[in-house]
Amino acid sequence: MLKGKVSLDVTQLDNFEYDMSKCVKCKGCTWVDHIYMPGVTFSTRCPSATKYLFDSYGAYGKMRIGLAMLEGRLDYSDELLKILYACTLCGACDVGCKRNLDLEIELTLEALRIKAVKDGKGPMPQHKKVAQNILTKYNRFGSPHQNRNKWLPSGIKPADKAEVLYFVGCSAAYTNPEIAQATVKILNAAGTPFMLMPDEWCCGNILYSVGMADEARELAKRNIEAVKKTGAKTLLLSCAEGYRMWKVDYPKLLNISTEDLGFKVVHLVEFVDELIKKGSLKFTKPVNLCLTYHDSCSLSRLSEPWTPWQGERGEWGMVSPTLERRRGTNGVYQPPRDILKAIPGVELIEMIRIRENAFCCGAGRGTKKAFPDFASWAAKHRLEEVKAIGAEAVVATCPWCKENFAQAVKQNGDKLKVFDISELILAAISG
């Protein structure tokens, strides 16, 4: 709506009519912040616009397309669906726009997918299969539900009751057990009792990301209720995608604020960083590596807490009451860096595009499933940057990133090593 009542409800695209109609094509959504512009290489931060090149794949194109959809001027087509879904929803465009214009780009992109689903055109066929897996097997892979806790290493017994609840997530439970195993060993080493969900289900990240808001909302209700029943005060995650889902998208879907969840949502790096700073956890074993850190989007620019808002848009586009914009400024950028710097033997070198300017690995928000070539291209593009700075290894805070990078390294035949940060933390504790 250009004037009148408006909210941040992503299930109504017209909430974002103002945002779609005020894009000025500065392409701040695509370019690295000009202050940090590194030159002619590695100068963009939007994977979709960088790969597909047509303006239509950048947020500036999508805002115009979205407006045409809202006004009924554009019919669905395969190309239109590709434009909507061949996008990692990584938030780079959103922070870029909010440097100058404060338009709600990320929410608009999410709302467009929700509209596509409502209109019976989305999501992509590959997403429907994943959704079916989640709704019937409670994990995105369609693996047997009873195998969900098979990753649990012998010798580690979760508590029946504890303040910390470790939400493992589908990836670490089924395809990247090394992350879950490292996480619980770290908790064990830190003397932190933890419990697991009595019956953990998928967080629903894919459902929400592809526009299946109703299904995601039901899952959110179920999962939140399940956590509340455990009495946990802290929900710990080692998956950045899951972290964002719990911290931002659940509250968004339920029209509550993050703090109203009733428990704190914490990523492993925040938890460990605090332990180190309190002196409760010490790194004693050297990890002799020259490595670089990849900012997983959902831990960094997309991770600021959610506060619901509704109000009025008036003269000059001003809104009231005050809207605290989520601009990515307070993402979790420093804790993982501080952790890596604290590990003896680690030489941390930074990539060219870091923090809010980081280039997404390409895996998340349904991209890898529907557009595997694009996801692979994005990972390889990012790895070029890793190689350009001379790092031996790249470290992420999300199994999605790790998996996508690892596959790209394999396809490339590179010698680069790919780690989740939990593995390095564990190595620094136990050798």
């Binding site: 005020k22 000009h34 202050i35 303006d55 190309e79 404060d102 400024t329 809010e356």
Partner: protein, 534 residues
Amino acid sequence: MAISKEAYKGLEVIVGAEYISANPAVCEGYRAGPGGYECGLGYERVMTKIPGCVIMPRTTEEVQKIVQLCNRYKVPFVPYSTGWYGPRSHCHVSDELLVDLKRMNDFEIDEEHLYAVVGPGIIYSQLQEEAMRRGMYIVIGGGGSQVSAIANMIGDGWSPLSYRVGLPHRRILGTELVLPDGELVLMGSLATQDDPFWGEGLGPDLRGLLRGFTGLRGCLGIVTKMAIKLLPFQPERLEPTGISPHTTLELPVNRVKWINFTMPSKDAMRQAMYEMAKAEIGGGVTKVPIFWRAIAKASCKEEYWELWSKESEETISSFHLLRVLLIAFTSEEQMEYEEQVLTDIITEIGGEARRTRPSDESWFKNADSAGMWLMCGGYVSVDYVIETIEHAIPHGENYAKLKRNFTPPLMPDYGDPGWFQSFELGHQGYSEFLVYWNPDEDTDGVDHFYLETSKENIRKRFYTSLLGPHQPLYLTGPAYGPNYHEWLLKVKGEFDPKFVCHPPVPLAHDEFVERAEWMKPMKDWESPEIKPSP
């Protein structure tokens, strides 16, 4: 499909299927508005169309073939680099081919001879970083860091740094231009050798095809490569710092420094500009419009309006903030010397230094033009003039008076007289008049004001850069010539006999006035019923 199957097939063969599309969703992404420079106004609504097809060439040869094919099939086309310059750089007629040049992003830099060779896909902040890394710099035009360096060099291309660096047409070196019929023109020393070092070559100097004071917005061909002169800079790094949106360049203050001065009057500002020029000190000097200060202070749109609503006619008329840039190109001693001279000048005139942040957010690397939309959502510069400082000041004051008649729909700005600055060490003065409006209200008054500024320039004998495609040619041509319009159309006819290159530019604003009902009452000049077209 908007253009014929034969033409499309031919175009596809030139670039490959991956780089051409006539899909409606792809084409919709290239719509000019509704947001953007000059967008939301009548010109955008009446004169722009979405393309019938978009093509992305990689090489000059491909551009030539595309243009030749357009001539063969009579397909109108428009060159497009970043799409920043609002409606005038977008399609104006149905079934037009938009030639998106972003893949043409080749880049070479010659440190020894201080120039870079760029394709139209290279933007200013990329060029500036590459230059600064090697001890050189360039002016990033006020259009912004995000614009194509070539498009801006042939369109506008100035900023406060033009005080020292000079105007853009002096920095265009060897250049490659594909004419509207597909013929390749090599300008400057490229005409005789594979070396773009000289802008001048065998005469006549064809750089006039690219621009006068401003450019022709793509109606005389496509520039596919340009060598741009770079200037030597001081050696210390301007360090990027902060997290978005609070990012900035920390300045090495022993070498680079902005100083803001409160001046007692506008005349004192003028005097300071002249005295600085006589002393040959400074890297830039500009008057700061008060709303820029409000934009810089505000953390959001709502806060901007809170700050702005506290201003009044009185505060605006007594606000005289002079912003001076010092660059110690040669040594730290140069900084000491220039700062002392500057202090003497300002003290003598009665100015006072204010505490100034040792950082740059606006001119060196991040020219923040996008921020101009924060307050209102609608923005255009209705005029920019390069003449003398004596001319620049009354030009702005005059426009401020004129603007009262059109406020609203223009933003209430309490009679702010615009922006002026000193160029080329005081030899020239620059005036730019920026206007803002609410694009969600009736904007006819903005269209009227835009045209009225042109009439005002004619009435008051103000010089103006916005001739050619920016205003009705039959209004401005006889007044600034007296036959400037005839010559421009002759040139257009010579080089674009089929009128396929971005039609109906340079007669687009004439056509807008004819087609927009609300503009017709303003037409008090003669123009032929059937306008000459090549």
